[in-house]
């Protein structure tokens, strides 16, 4: 297991580190990229050699973060993972570095402890929320660019301050980021109010494929790779539909199952407070947060649906 660090100890290690590689999780979202981006610009501002590495391509919608991607031009001496709860989430392309992570900065209570040391705050809404406190403790000047990276992470991981992980700290941090120069009108428009035709198409598809179980307490969307391909949606677009099923009156567990290009089934589970999404997914080999978790299942759509419905039933404390 990892050595658990507090903010001050993490600051010490980062200030001593040189030739730093920042690792994001695969299928990168706003939080893994935003917290990596903020730390990247902070360390660069301190004159350090630093770069960001992710197994998957990073969408053009995040270009404004100006991430410096790792091109092999230096030999990493210190490896930092941000927002990565388990080693399987790095992706095979970066596995070599994933096995030698010196420091992990994360907000997933389910973190497997794969890193040598860990700054873990499971009550933080986003890794970017922890990163703000870390950078302030490092006496980093929060530039508008750093503020926009951090705002992106916090806003995307909370559904723009709507999800159950949003706290007073979240709103206060976001207010400080506005003060530091984050242009939230532009960011919110880009992140939340700018659906592509593909996003609209996959939302429509999801609404048309909603199924209800257990007296409407569970809502499920199942999509084959052919259905997904017909919309032109990319993995970020697909992420966007994982909240639809849970956000229906009376629904306690929302499940989205989508077949991957490889044939496996990627499952996202969203729950209301009182039902543990992470427990449902852990029993199927995955993990995550109490209200938002995921797993990946091999087999057929029918088997996947059946396995999920069995676990959902247990989580709803129903007799079989």
């Amino acid at each position: 297991m990892s050595e658990l660090l507090d903010i001050a100890a993490a600051v010490n290690r980062l200030l001593r580190a040189e030739n730093i590689l920042l690792l994001c999780h695969k299928n990168p979202d706003g939080d893994t990229l935003g917290s990596a981006g903020a730390l990247y610009h902070a360390l660069k501002g301190l004159g350090k050699t630093v770069a960001v590495l992710c197994a998957d391509p990073i969408g053009a919608r995040y270009d404004y973060m100006q991430l410096g991607l790792f091109d092999g031009s230096f030999e990493p001496k210190y490896v930092v993972a941000v927002d990565v709860a388990g080693i399987q989430l790095f992706g095979d392309a970066v596995r070599a570095y994933a096995e030698r992570v010196d420091l992990c900065i994360d907000h997933h209570g389910s973190n497997s402890g794969y890193a040598d040391a860990m700054l873990l705050q499971a009550d933080a809404a986003a890794a970017s929320e922890i990163m703000y406190d870390l950078l302030r403790a490092m006496n980093i000047d929060i530039t508008p660019l750093i503020a926009e990276c951090l705002y992106t992470g916090i806003a995307t991981d909370t559904g723009c301050f709507k999800f159950a992980n949003t706290t007073q700290r979240t709103l206060l941090t976001a207010a400080k980021l506005i003060e530091a120069g984050a242009d939230i009108v532009r960011l919110n428009a880009a992140l939340f109010e700018s659906k592509t035709p593909a996003q609209l198409a996959i939302e429509r598809l999801a609404l048309e494929n909603l199924q209800f179980y257990y007296d409407g307490k569970c809502a499920m969307v199942c999509l084959t790779r052919e259905q997904i391909a017909s919309t032109g949606a990319d993995c970020t677009d697909i992420e966007g539909i994982t909240g639809i099923a849970r956000a229906i009156e009376g629904v306690q567990v929302g499940v989205t199952i989508r077949q991957q290009p490889s044939g496996s089934y990627k499952v996202s589970v969203r729950t209301v407070p009182g039902v543990d999404a992470s427990a449902i997914c852990r029993r199927l080999g995955g993990g995550g947060h109490t209200q938002a978790a995921g797993c990946e299942i091999l087999g057929s759509m029918e088997n996947t649906r059946g396995a999920l419905l069995d676990e959902v039933k247990k989580a709803l404390c129903m007799e079989s």
Copy 2:
């Protein structure tokens, strides 16, 4: 025109007032109800006789505000309107009181100045944001109930902190309301994550009826009263679809036209920064905010659509 008051002057008048009637706008939303609810509980806490009046029924989803509705049991001596930009927005049922408003508390820059006196802050995201400062200046103890009324107004008028009217002040006020005891997990779930079958049905209908104009710069949803009736949607459900058209990549003006039970056409216009929604609607007899405005048009769907497209074209500064 109204006498313009600052917070201190508005506090003085409210503290001197007795037998107070609080008026909301018709088709009541979270902000008119939340700011009225907060002021209602504050004035009641001061031992005053006070009640709330609205021309339309108030949805059961707002029951937690515990609004004391006007039942005629006292003769109003002081009438306060909250979040009501023009006298036509009261509805005929409360017209008698609407013509003798002593104080209007509002955040619409387009307010017509119908009240004797006005506390107007056009840069406030919601009337509830002004109300928080007003109640603090009155030395009111912000109880959890008052905090939940105000949070409702701020969160609903900003699309949960997503719309362009959200500022640092908005987030700081919301953080203070959490500190005062607002249960935002419960409120966000109820306000934003609890779609009824009717809401789902009207969203699907809206997505199926999207039309694009002017190279995709304008997106429009037109719904007849029969289409709306088929979904079972009420006026709050319908409000929920007004953001869909604008939230598409490349769209600068999103228009929703829905036929009212009376036959007239209710129009909602949402724009990106740089395009004035209020100007579009003002020329058609309506008004509102720079990025969110509305109007009501008599005639046919075709005429209404045509009139809107003409105004949208002007707003987009295109040659005719």
